[in-house]
Assembly symmetry: C3
Homo-oligomer: 276 residues x 3
């Protein structure tokens, strides 16, 4: 299947139980030679928002035509809809539970369907493993070239489930945001992004408070940061992050996802911006 688009997999299945492998076995039975790429399977169990974040930082870097197979699905088998949608030249398959919130905010979808045609599922789907029985097979059929619209009934874009994207808010002169993600290196990635992040970093007097600590040091790269002290930098996702050189900001500050950050001294004439 040379020329078939990659299928990028994003789940909370972990790697111990073989669940991603089983899903891949099913896909390869339907679409032999499909190019499978793991985005991650280490999303915390049932952490839909965490999965949405990783997808947010990743999808633009995949080629047009990529099929994102995303299964973080606490409502598996219940009334939540299994869906597929086309947006920005890529295809997205998964539960309609908010997982695609960032994608939908950045790229209004061209088409969306409920995956309700059993011809594209495994026979006798289980109630508890739709990654194997429904989502994987549908992604494989897309990789084979079946048009999105064939996989099920069209659904209204306005009916898609999205959660409210975290974004910082002004309270007087202070900008209140939060830590969105802690990565493997202990970097604290915040919801201050785009022009606001740039303005904060470009204004020497601006500072960021997190976990009871006021941070004013900043650096362009990890290596340029001060030794043993947290500093601010622009993360590769375009978001403002707090880092420690050769160390973990999360550990040093005892801070984590959801913790408040408060920026002061940021030029206020800049309007809020939606997350990219």
């Amino acid at each position: 299947m040379a020329g078939s688009p990659p299928i990028a997999l994003l789940t909370d299945f972990g790697s111990r139980d073989g669940y991603p492998g089983v899903m891949k076995g099913v896909i390869l039975g339907i679409a032999p030679g499909a190019a499978l790429v793991d985005l991650t399977h280490e999303i915390a169990p049932q952490d839909v928002a965490g999965a949405a974040w990783v997808l947010h930082t990743a999808w633009r870097y995949f080629p047009l035509g990529t099929i994102f197979l995303c299964v973080v699905d606490p409502g598996v088998g219940s009334t939540r809809r299994p869906i597929a949608l086309a947006a920005s030249g890529r295809l997205f398959v998964g539960p309609d539970n908010g997982l695609f919130s960032y994608v939908l905010a950045a790229a209004p979808p061209d088409e969306a369907v409920a995956l309700d045609d059993p011809r594209f599922h495994l026979p006798h789907p289980s109630a508890t493993f739709h990654g194997r029985d429904i989502f994987g097979p549908c992604a494989a059929h897309l990789a084979r070239g079946i048009p999105l619209g064939k996989l099920g009934s069209a659904i209204a874009m306005t009916s898609l489930v999205t959660f409210v994207l975290p974004r910082p808010v002004w309270q007087g002169d202070m900008l209140h945001g939060q830590v969105l993600h802690v990565d493997r290196f202990g970097n604290l990635i915040t919801d201050v992004a785009g022009a606001l992040a740039a303005a904060l970093l470009a204004t020497p007097s601006a500072r960021l408070a997190v976990a009871g600590r006021d941070i004013s040091a900043r650096a362009h790269t990890f290596a340029e940061g001060p030794e043993g002290e947290p500093f601010l930098l622009a993360d590769s996702s375009g978001h403002l992050a707090i880092a420690v050189r050769n160390g973990s900001a999360a550990a040093l500050l005892d801070a984590g996802r959801g913790d408040e950050v408060v920026a002061s001294g940021v030029p206020h004439e800049r309007a809020d911006e939606p997350p990219r």
Copy 2:
């Protein structure tokens, strides 16, 4: 190598040391373009039974022709035989130590060989890494189209090592079984399977005792389970499982693999069934 069958890898090598990668490098040198799929490399070290379980839940979902390369091999280099076998349209390569017990119970093999022809090994195999030096190369030669029978001497099916598959036993009206596997989500998957699992779930008065707790709640899906309480459901493997909605049954019950489960109230006229 379009059209070549997938090689599915199952090991206890972990991901830190590069051992699965080295094995893949060897395979790609012999069978360029081979389609490699990780089933898991996170089997606990030397846990042959755990690997056998994961293979049991997975192999049927892979296409015909798939080559399962399974290396959980505490006896590497000793007298245990390296083998390959054909069963149910798939090929299985690994040590003859019980790893294929579930497969052999479900699908009597058509052919089995000892991997004793050094032409299909790396030159000068080590005594401690047969995944790299023997099993990987043999799987790669199979992917290239070498017939199974060429890889070594035929061996008698009856000589293959298998362990006794765990299955529940009746003691009077009580069905005594055990927890076979705890998955990433903390679901406790038991050896009560098939018609017995169905009968238990379909009988409102039937219950299951585990870790000193009597469980009678049941649900069709994770989302339908009661809040914060363990409940019974049919796992995607067809086995009876104990789950907690958005939580871990293993943590809540402080239960794990090997723990006894005792079912009461299950219609007794049903005969024991072998695990599927």
Copy 3:
């Protein structure tokens, strides 16, 4: 892209954040159908020496033409050079920070370039994720067949950064070495390698002291080792290792990387040998 060489990935990115997946997405956009193989992404954060070790044990097992994409890069965005080099029929891409020390010691490179031609990078590279923005794209261009020399300015072999490879030293009749690596199984792999390791194992009176314990038992395979006691064996990398049968030598001895090992009774007429 049948016939394109594999790209083997080695990073400290972990698997939670999707960083390796993003890098693969970029590669597949440039080199559709590229064969991607994970060597490991679980190098400890910023552990250049640990990455160099894993690469040392792996690269010879990959086919000629393989492109090793190695990103353990505490100096990302700083003055350290992004480089690519050709050695022993393979290509190596990554930061010039010592990661290729073992490779360069074993196989003098044929060619090396600084990756300073932005036409082969993503537009507007970030300062913090060169795996995605520079190294991944350059590896992908190599996979497409762009010659190494096109990717940037030639650099002098003698200017490549390498660290001093750990090797044991004689002090009188005692050979002082160290633990280089602890693998998933708890095996302690030392810097005693090649002929010295062979001589030690072949001399019944020779012994190895580590963590206050004197070890004289030895075995050819893990299964042949004594029960519950540490023993010596030749690791699959050709290095002397300390193992425990069905257990962890690291845990039993409370020993780890960097710990000293002292061999006594090793025939001294053997000259030191460089690590292979």
